[in-house]
């Protein structure tokens, strides 16, 4: 059994190489919320095919891997209220901030973007506070 960090590092490198390919070949920033959000608000109409193809690969490849190897699980809560509230927060928040973990975190920090750094500090901070509040104090997650 390899230590978990090796999987983290290898998976992280794969994410970084994917982002590098998308930048150097397609000339685009690999931000998950922006690629999806641009399809929803119409701002991505001019490169809709590229966005849909990206999302197709993003959904399809892990689905095939999990079918072939098995064992892939999200271990997500089954509490519908928490799922809906959290989904709404992630959707609204990433579009207001213009980016999420991939866009601000990976693509932004790697070019020392001030906005990417600030966004990452604040979403990590909010995530940490949420765990303290809802796990350790309220005990609902």
């Amino acid at each position: 059994m390899q230590p978990e960090w090796i999987f983290g590092l290898v998976g992280g490198l794969m994410i970084g190489i994917a982002a590098s390919l998308f930048l150097l070949i397609n000339g685009r920033i690999m931000g998950a919320s922006g690629i999806l959000g641009g399809l929803l608000d119409g701002s991505g109409r001019s490169n809709m095919t590229e966005r849909l193809a990206f999302i197709g690969g993003l959904i399809g490849v892990p689905a095939v891997i999990s079918l072939a190897i098995g064992g892939a699980e999200t271990h997500a809560t089954t509490n519908i209220t928490i799922l809906i509230v959290a989904g709404l927060l992630v959707g609204i928040g990433t579009r207001l901030a213009n980016g999420c973990t991939s866009g601000h975190g990976v693509c932004g920090i790697s070019r020392l973007s001030l906005r990417g750094l600030i966004a990452t500090v604040f979403y990590l901070f909010a995530g940490g506070i949420t765990i303290v509040l809802f796990k350790h104090i309220l005990g609902v997650i």
Partner: protein, 143 residues
Amino acid sequence: MRALFAAIAGGLFGAGLLVSGMTDTRKVQGWLDVFGDWDPTLAFVLGGAILPMAIAWSFTHGRAPVLGGVFPAKPERRVDWPLIGGSLLFGAGWGLVGLCPGPAMASLGFGGLSGLVFLVAMIAGMLAAVPIRRKIAAAGASG
């Protein structure tokens, strides 16, 4: 060609999210649980992802993308309330369930009903943000 390479990038991104543990909400919530049973795995994920991307950015200077067009402009330096407030809302939602937008899509094939409910709510949230983004853009243009 653009679609083909977009699909390859998306597929590799999804596979990386799966391998790294980003689609496992227990690992994500463990990483955010600094005051509890902290799981440092995600530091390796973020570090591993930033490293090749930093090299990729250094290759963009004075060049053009392989498939044509131009590279993204230099990042804006403006730090405003939508950036901070939006990131706080996003972080709160990320902490509550442990899924951010990439993994929410990547886990659709194996995430079951929970994953589907989260993804639909996330899309609803993105749609709800459309008029707010428009107002922010209008305020920015007039101010």
